[in-house]
Every structure is written in C-alpha cells, then in structure tokens.
Amino acid sequence: MNTPAPSSRPHTFQRIYVWELPVRFYHWLNALCILVLTVTGFLIANPPAINTAGEASFSYWFGWTRFIHFATAYVFVFNFAFRIYWGFVGNQYADWKNFLPLRLAQFREVRSVLRVDILQSLNRPLAAVGHNALAYLTYFVMFLVFLFQVASGFAMYANMSDAWFPHLFTWMLPLFGGDAGLRHWHHLATWFFVIFTVIHVYLVFYHDYVEGHGVLSSMAGGWKFLPKDGPGKGDGRSWFSGKPGPKA
C-alpha cells in the first residue's frame, strides 16, 4: 500500500482546546431538541392508537405531545440563534467563516476529504483541528434545513398563537400552497435529520477509530489531541487570517 511507513517512535500529542463550553452546550442541547422534535413530530404525523376508549375530558396525551413539540421548538430556535451569535464571538473553530468553502484552500480540503475519507481512493493521513472543510459545509447545509424547519414550523404554528414571533413566518404559507403543502415539506425535512444523524454519528466514530485524535470525546470535554510529528500538527491553522492560533 502507498502508506508511508508508520513511525516507530510513539507519537507525542498536543492537547488543543477546540470546542469551548458554549459550543458543546449548544451541540448537546441541539441534539436533544432534534431528538424530541423528531419523536413528537412523527407521533403528530401518525398517532398510535394508545387511547381507544373513554371520555375525551380525562385525557390529553395528544395535546401534550403537540405542546412538547412546540415548546421544544422554541428552545431549539433560541439555541440555534445562540450558535449563530457564537460564530461571531467564539474561537476560530467556531467561526462562521469556516462553514462556507469560499477560499480555495477550503475547497481543496473538501476535495481531499472526499478522496481520503469518503471514497477512500487516496490514502494519506488527514487531520483537521476544527471540523474538516467538508464537515463544515455539511453543517452549513444542515443550518439551512434548520432555518426551513423553523420557518415552516412557526408558519404553521402562527394560527395557534397570538405571540408575534410565529407570525413573522406566515409568508411561508402561500409559498408552499397553504398549511397542507407546508406540512408535507416539514415532514420530509424531518427525514433529513434522521439521515444526517446516522451519517454524522457514523463519521464521528469513523474518525475516532481511524485517526485516534479523540474526536468523539471532543464534544464532551472540548479537547482534541493532535500528533506533534504528524499532519495537522496543532499549528492552530484556520481558514482565515487575523486570529492567532491557540497558544502552543
């Protein structure tokens, strides 16, 4: 194989604080919200016959399911808004500019990640301190779906609410042929999250397994471990200038 011979010395690693606490907090709260929204959403779409007899006055399970969906929706939105804010004030790995491959170097990295990790037509160690450029791009697409889900959800929710916030999104309704059309799309977008999560969790395990840089635990503790003698030496590389790398 065309792999360079592994060095016979054990690696020495540099520990880098990549994901600050707010990013980690955002990540897990977001994952929890999506889990709750997906489960309650599918229940709303197709309620199981768990209540088949009795007086309506004594039960409200479906009402609660919807309530949880809507309440979680608000948490989801504010958490998301917070992440956008953090893209402007957080460290360079959280910076919003990473999410779009506008620079040639980012674009090249998208290509090499595709070749090394996804198609595996090329075998060469790759390492990224933050996310890799392809991952950033994927998260950007996902943020767009977040936005769609929020806009479509609140547009449908507006007629059940007097609050001003949901009414900001009612312009979505005529665009998608009314509530029924919009609900279709809202439902289909849910599958995007299901599929994203499968791929996402798989790839996190994949990177942890293949590279051994502690990616999986990085969303818990914030640290990644990069070999001082290998690729991605922990030089604090980021895609835009102006911000210093982490102090070595």
């Binding site: 309620p47 007899a53 309506a56 006055s57 479906f62 007629n159 309704l173 042929g177 029924a180 059309g181």
Partner: protein, 392 residues
C-alpha cells in the same frame, strides 16, 4: 302620501335603496332587522355593527354586479341561491344587484351580450365583478369560450372597469379540480390573470352561502374590501381552521381517533384525523356557520374535511390518508416512503463504508509500533491520592 313601495317602482332603479327594494317585495321591517343581525353575526361584528349594517342597507343604493361563469360547475351559484335565508338569494342576488349572469339571466344570445356591454359601459369603475370558475390559458384560451370570445379575453375586458373583484369558490381562487395535476387546460385562478384590482378570494367548493352573502353585505356596508389573509381570503370567515372550531377537537387532544369508518370509535364520534381529515390545515367557517342553515357539516356527518377551501386541495390528497402523496414522486409515494428508502440506503452505505475502511486503512487503524500496552510507561505502584494524606 307616497309609500315606499310606490317609490320603488317609480324612481329609477339605481336610486332605490336596498331597504326600499326589500319592503317593496313584501319583506317586513322585523325580517329585515333579523337579516341584518344575522349577517353581522356571521361577519363577526359587534352589537354596534348591526346598526351599521341596518343603516347601510337603509341608505345605500344597490351596487351594480356582473357575475361571470367560466370553467366551473355552478355549485357556487347553487350554494348561494340555496341559502337558508330567503333574503340572501331572492333579494341580494335576484332583484337588486345582478346586472349580468349567464346562469340566471332572462335574456340570451345577443341580448345577453348586449346587457353585459351596457352594464360595463354604464357603470364603468363602479360595478362589482363576481367570477365563478377558472380561466384556461392553454391554446390561447380555447377551452372556455362564451359568445365566440375566450374566457381569457372576456375576463380582461370585464375586469378593466370593475371596482373590485370577488372570486367565488376554489375554481376562481385556485383552479380547483381542473387545475389539478397535470392541469391540461392550464386552468388559472383569477388573481393570476388579473392584476391591479382588489380581489377577494371567497374560497371553498363551494363557499358557504352565508359567507358569500356576508362578503357582499360587508362591501355594501363598509364600502371597502374586508381584511384579507395572505391568500386573499376574508379574515372574518377564513382566519380559523376547521380544526379549531371542530366539536370533535377534544377527542383529538385526547388522542381518541377513528381507526376505520366502520369501527366503534366512528360511532362514538371520535376525531377523524387518522381517516385523513384535513381540518388541521383548512381555513373555513364550516365548524361555526355550518351548512344548510346550520344543520350540519361534513365532520358532523362522519366524514373528514377534504380541505376544499385550500389551494391545490385535489393534489394534497388522498382524502382518506393523513399524510398525502408527496408532490412530484408519483402516486402512492409518501414522504415516509422516501425517507425510509433513503434512510435504509444510508445505513447500508455506512456499513459498507465501515467494511471498506477496515480494508483500505488497516495500516493506520489500531495499535501502531510503540503503542502496545507493554510500551506504556510504568504506572506508579503507589497512587499518592490513595494514601490518605501520608505524602503531604
């Protein structure tokens, strides 16, 4: 002394007030007031609103109305003239307002066309244009021709001098069944053919008679377009979902659903959500005003709402399933089928990728030289923290 009835026959048609016309036709003051009260209740006006309606009908003269029929089944007219309230059909439509309508016109042929031309010339800029039906645009509009002219040309001509336009029913508002995919005649709703005129979309297939009358009375009373929602429907009648005014709603919240039309739950009157009821995505007054003088409405009769006051409701089907077919993916393809298929492919892809990784990258994976457990630096035999302070 001249009676109102005398005056009604003597004075020019145009100067008679609505009230004068009504009394001339034998409607009592009492019935007139009842009608005004009932109309303002339908429009959701308060107690002072009744006085406004009474005052308007007593003092205002008729509005000239031209009522066109294009691609449609006339169920809107049917609904209107079958209103449970005699004044609606008999007076508002028959005697006072209507200057031209193909369905109810006594004249025919050239006379009828003359009648239309006279009206739009005489009342230019004043008449109300009511349109029932959609306008086919394919093949230069040949799919709907009246008196040798295409609906497309007629509507442009008649709309030019109209003060406002009422689009009656789903056909005129969004094309209804003839605009369902693949829409062979390119049936087009009025608001997409005419621009620059106020258009009121009175949705439904057909709209409820009281709603139609309510819109007319509103125009007469307040002389302005009622508040409209984003799809041009009067908010007074279309701001709430059927679902929000449905008497079966407590069953919905309790999760008590009809599972099939012949089950016990159907007999108990549980919610029809799982039978495809479109009430949750449909804006209309069926739950409050109901039909045929408040006798019933589809859900009360055991059938789910089909969503007839929403655009493209034929394509949002099937009527008897909760989640319809996904547009663009052919029959019987729901979002869930698409999602499941892509999801299964993703899981299979990830599994294949995992296998590939273990083959292609087996050099990088796992223990590297110098990384075995035996190479680890020796663990201190005594852990200082376990020594209970001896070390410090």
């Amino acid at each position: 002394m001249e009676t109102i009835a005398d005056r009604a026959t003597r004075v020019d048609h145009d100067q008679v007030t609505v009230y004068e016309q009504l009394t001339a036709r034998g409607v009592s003051r009492r019935d007139f007031l009842k009608f005004c009260g009932w109309m303002s209740a339908c429009m959701g006006l308060g107690a002072d609103g009744i006085a406004q309606v009474v005052h308007a009908l007593e003092t205002k003269t008729r509005i000239p109305v031209v009522w066109m029929h294009f691609q449609e089944c006339t169920c809107c007219s049917e609904s209107f003239i079958r209103s449970s309230h005699p004044i609606v059909a008999d007076i508002l439509l028959d005697k006072i307002s209507l200057d031209y309508t193909e369905t109810l016109l006594a004249a025919s042929g050239h006379q009828a066309e003359q009648c239309l031309q006279d009206t739009i010339r005489k009342y230019k800029g004043e008449y109300l244009l009511c349109i029932e039906g959609s306008v086919p645009l394919a093949e230069d509009g040949v799919y709907c021709c009246i008196g040798g002219k295409s609906a497309k040309d007629i509507v442009a001509e008649v709309a030019a001098g109209a003060k406002a336009i009422i689009a009656w029913g789903n056909c005129a508002c969004s094309g209804c069944v003839q605009a369902a995919k693949p829409n062979p005649t390119a049936a087009t709703p009025v608001h997409k053919v005419i621009s620059g005129k106020p258009i009121i979309n009175v949705q439904g297939c057909p709209p409820i008679a009281e709603v139609m009358a309510g819109v007319l009375v509103h125009l007469l009373t307040f002389d302005r377009i009622p508040q409209l929602d984003a799809q041009g429907r009067p908010k007074a009648f279309y701001s709430r979902r059927v679902h929000d005014t449905c008497y079966r709603r407590p069953n919905y919240d309790a999760g008590l659903f009809v599972e099939s039309f012949d089950d016990d739950n159907a007999r108990k009157g549980y919610c029809l959500y799982k039978m495809g009821c479109k009430g949750p995505t449909t804006y209309n007054s069926c739950g409050t005003i109901r039909w045929n003088g408040g006798v019933s409405f589809p859900i009360q009769s055991g059938h789910g709402c089909i969503g007839c006051s929403e655009s493209n409701f034929w394509d949002n089907g099937p009527f008897y399933e909760r989640l319809g077919n996904f547009p663009g993916f052919g029959i019987e393809t729901t979002a869930d089928k698409i999602g499941l298929a892509v999801g299964a492919a993703t899981v299979a892809g990830a599994a294949a990728h995992a296998v590939l990784t273990n083959i292609r990258k087996h050099h990088e994976i796992g223990e590297q030289p110098g990384e075995s457990a035996a190479d680890a630096p020796p663990t201190p035999a005594i852990d200082p923290h376990n020594q209970g302070g001896n070390q410090s």
